[in-house]
């Protein structure tokens, strides 16, 4: 579209257009603000409830401001169960998953992106197909497998599988590898570098943003996971934060102020990571969602 064409539109029409743009922007902001408030109210309710004294929890209609502000709820909630232990367990499991996923998926993705070998297309289709298999389908037989290996009530079923790659991350990293010009690797090969050396010193540094996304997603996945620890961990000293919180709700079922205090604590680490690394969350999700 050129400027001469635009000038054909009469001044009257352009004034009307400007007016309607302004109205549209106003409506957009009103809708966005309104929806934002609706999305934020649950958080406000969470924090406010966590600071209420017992006698202000069961009031209808609810009061907004806790009076007095009961910070002690947090101390009471956190000392009633070994939440520190749970947090350490969750952190350990999540970090091992990060390492496992980074190592395995970058290898596998590079293999699919760069090497020609018989069956590559079929295997890659197979890999993508595994994304369609709901994990619940594999639950029982995997449990039996880990049971026979003697891994029940250990962290092994929650960590070891991450060292064998997962379709989602392989796909994401492969997309990034494909964007790297082959010439870089060819130059390194001419200089006499082997495939491993090229992989580590030429290719990996170039896809650092994608690796960060994988690290964050695997941390989130392991940290938020509930079903796997629920099935495999029975000894309370091995519980993760999510198991601990679920059990906490079970045993304090009407002390909503304490339950909310514990929930705040369980949400906080993920929320902080999200605020710090939102860019990578958005990038990673975008890569898998729109380039598929």
């Amino acid at each position: 579209m050129t400027y001469t064409q635009v000038s054909v539109i009469s001044r009257d029409a352009s004034a009307r257009a400007r007016w309607s743009t302004r109205v549209r922007r106003l409506i957009t902001y009103l809708l966005l603000t309104g929806t934002s408030i609706c999305f934020l109210i649950p958080f406000a309710w969470l924090v406010i409830s966590s600071l209420k004294p017992n006698d202000q929890i069961f009031v209808f209609p609810p009061t907004w401001w806790p009076n007095p502000v009961e910070w002690n709820n947090y101390a009471q909630a956190l000392t009633s169960q070994p939440f520190g232990r749970y947090a350490l367990n969750s952190l350990f499991i999540a970090l091992v998953n990060v390492v496992g996923n980074l190592v395995s998926n970058s290898f596998v993705a590079y293999g699919f992106a760069r090497f020609r070998f018989p069956g590559r297309r079929v295997l890659f289709m197979l890999l993508l197909a595994t994304m369609m298999v709901p994990s619940q389908v594999l639950l029982v037989p995997q449990f039996i497998l880990f049971h026979d290996l003697g891994w029940i009530n250990t962290f092994l079923p929650l960590t070891v599988p991450s060292f064998f790659g997962s379709a989602f991350y392989v796909f994401l990293l492969r997309q990034f590898f494909m964007t790297i010009p082959v010439e870089l690797e060819e130059a390194a090969r001419i200089d006499g570098a082997g495939p491993l050396r090229i992989f580590f010193s030429v290719v990996l540094p170039l896809i650092r943003p994608a690796l960060t996304a994988v690290a964050i997603f695997s941390f989130q996945g392991a940290w938020n996971d509930f079903l796997t620890p629920l099935i495999y961990l029975s000894d309370p000293s091995k519980f993760t934060l999510q198991l601990g919180l679920a059990q906490f709700q079970g045993s304090f079922h009407t002390d909503w102020n304490l339950i909310m205090a514990a929930s705040v604590v369980v949400m906080l680490p993920m929320a902080i990571i999200f605020f710090v690394a939102q860019k990578y969350f958005v990038q990673g999700i975008t890569m898998t969602g729109t380039k598929g």
Binding site: Q5, L32, P62, S104, F117, P118, P134, L138, P141, L230
Partner: protein
């Protein structure tokens, strides 16, 4: 000779690189898949060796009212929650795509609930939905609207999950937003010159251009619904005392599979349930992909 040995070396290196996944696929996916097919024809409680009983588990399923309840709860949720959430996610993404100021701030607010631990958000929603003291009914009360007994009476159990699901649309919204940002602005400009209304540009430009993203989210939604577990487990426990809400009104399929397999140790029956689940998801996905030829538009080249 030299050439072919080079090719073989490339093959070997390639296989070596993908070997972690290949091994994992065989050990953790293919093996268990085949194993569970066999188990679905057995009676197995983990303590005694599996006992072959033919197709009895599948016959039992047809007569099992809880199985039908699990299917109907899951479909009920899917039919309402998936379209509703897709619509809300798309609407939010379109609003965010209007080149608004503070876009990152709004995006953060809408995305945050989706990345938090589902156990914690479910516990929170148990309290939000509390019929007597929760904030949702307090608002409905203030507006003079009726206050449903969320999660307490069977007819208000699945709707409670549907209401909650809207709060978690952030991931879909981000994916839609990325799709919208890829739509060439020139298309809208051309439409505006032709005098097309906002509504028309939405139907004739936006929707076709983002239909592949819509398809992706739809398929993910179907798979996710049949794997819907944590919320069902936490909130089914929260009220009424039973594991799946009052009168099993919150008996989602994945929850029923868990109860059969890991609470009752009916591992043979649970395997049969798993295979039926796999089959249903497969059929639905295929139907969606087949149907998508009618409404998904792939612009330009596609590799």
């Amino acid at each position: 000779m030299k050439r072919s040995s080079l090719a073989v070396r490339e093959w070997l290196t390639g296989y070596l690189f993908i070997s972690p996944w290949l091994i994992g696929f065989i050990v953790f996916t293919l093996g268990p898949l085949v194993g569970s097919l066999y188990l679905s024809f057995t009676n197995y409680n983990l303590l005694q060796p599996p006992q072959f009983i033919g197709a009895q588990n599948y016959f039992q399923m047809v007569r099992d009212p809880d199985f039908w309840q699990a299917l109907s709860v899951t479909f009920y949720y899917a039919i309402f929650a998936i379209p509703l959430d897709l619509a809300v996610a798309l609407a939010l993404a379109i609003l965010l795509n209007q080149r608004v100021r503070y876009m990152p701030l709004f995006r953060t607010i809408f995305y945050l609930p989706a990345i938090l631990p589902p156990v914690a958000t479910s516990v929170l929603w148990n309290w939000i939905l509390n019929p007597d003291y929760g904030i949702l009914n307090a608002f409905l009360h203030a507006l003079g609207l009726p206050q449903p007994q969320w999660l307490v009476t069977p007819q208000w159990t699945v709707p409670a999950y549907i209401v909650m699901s809207v709060w978690g649309v952030g991931t879909w919204m981000v994916i839609f937003l990325a799709g919208l940002q890829d739509v060439p602005q020139s298309l809208y400009e051309a439409a505006a010159i032709d005098g097309a209304s906002v509504w028309r540009s939405f139907w004739n430009i936006t929707l076709p251009m983002i239909s592949p993203v819509l398809l992706f989210n739809l398929v993910q939604g179907v798979i996710g619904t049949f794997g819907y577990f944590t919320q069902a487990y936490i909130m089914g426990n929260g009220v009424g005392g039973s594991n799946a809400g009052v009168d099993n009104a919150g008996l989602f399929y994945a929850l029923y599979l868990y109860i059969q397999g890991f609470a009752e140790l009916h591992m043979g029956y649970a395997s049969a349930l798993a295979w039926v689940l796999f089959f249903i998801v497969l059929i639905l996905t295929l139907l969606i992909f087949k149907g998508s030829a009618l409404w998904v538009y792939y612009g330009g080249e596609r590799d």
